[in-house]
Symmetry: C2
Subunit: 205 residues, 2 copies
């Protein structure tokens, strides 16, 4: 393997570690397994990182930074707020079922962070970022579908993430896709009741 900058090698190792974790879990992410996945000799690991703990801290931080809710990025809104919510949740469900290991890794890393002293704040941060992403989506949906939210948008985002977490967890456990779809139907219905049509004083062409 050609020479790489220190920062590249760190990234390469973190990336390899994430693949190993997806395959075998956090417990299976030994330094040997990671360097094997990255195609490096064992010593390269401690050339890039002080310790395995340091790498795991960087990995969790990396995930928190980069785990955008990409599901929603290319998302188009529906004709009304109910179908916008429904389609977004459905897109989320599809993303989960397409790559179950990904969500399992997120869950495992979150738990890992909750267990390691000094990393608890990263668990909180990751969860808050999800919520912030949902806030943006809720505001865009409101603008798009001409509604106002009857609760603080931050509270609604909390409800939405409660749904997505619950749906994720349930599907990971029982793999019942029609069941998950029925929950999404309910979620869309009940969230739509929090939307009220907005009276326009003026509107732009």
């Amino acid at each position: 393997m050609a020479r790489m900058s220190s920062v590249d090698r760190r990234l390469e190792l973190v990336s390899a570690a994430l693949r190993v974790i997806a395959e075998r879990g956090v417990a299976g992410a030994t330094t040997r397994a990671i360097v094997a996945e990255a195609g490096m000799p064992l010593a390269s690991f401690h050339y890039a990182f002080e310790s395995r703990d340091e790498m795991m801290r960087e990995l969790v931080g990396f995930v928190v930074e980069n785990e955008a809710v990409a599901v929603f990025e290319s998302f188009r809104f529906g004709a009304d707020i109910r179908s916008s919510i429904h389609d977004a949740l459905h897109a989320y469900l599809v993303a989960i079922t397409d790559d179950p290991n990904h969500e399992l890794v997120m869950l495992e890393l979150m738990q890992y962070a909750l267990r390691i002293p000094g990393l608890e704040h990263l668990a909180r941060e990751q969860w808050v970022r999800y919520r912030v992403a949902v806030v943006e989506l809720l505001e865009a949906a409101a603008a798009n579908n001409g509604i106002e939210w009857s609760l603080p948008v931050d509270d609604i985002a909390r409800i939405v993430v409660t749904f997505t977490d619950g749906i994720t967890f349930a599907w990971l456990a029982d793999r019942d896709l029609p069941g998950a779809s029925r929950v999404i139907d309910f979620a869309a219905d009940s969230l739509a009741t929090l939307a009220t049509p907005v009276r326009l004083k003026e509107h732009t062409a």
Copy 2:
């Protein structure tokens, strides 16, 4: 330690292992840590169990069997269905916050089961048992508050568990109790819309 039957020793070790897991996580539940917690010499472990894996299998099975949703057992219903749901969810939240490690252990064991080939069905089973417990509660609540459910009770139970899982997960991450309470308010409101007053042809005194 006095002589104990084989079955008692197994139970003692499983119980000690659960305490160790609550304290240090699954990764910290080494055979040494477990026998130390149980006050036994190391060799006793393999006298009772073939291997650590066998003990972990029994432990997960034990939890699945015995993890009753005790929260709801001594639960009293409210005057209407909305407050019955609300109070039940609130009682659940109190139980979680009183003993955060307990839910963290359940989460961790579920993840463990999902990772270990041959144990996946136990993860599913544990989740289904929660749902069955909720079905019973929903039916009791319906009888008590004189309503009928407008969806199959099994689907509603799925929604309820989605809520409790999501609320649990969120609270473990961000420890925001007022936030969790607001989600519970919403959950009670939206679940109550699934209840319709029942017309009685006749009633018993």
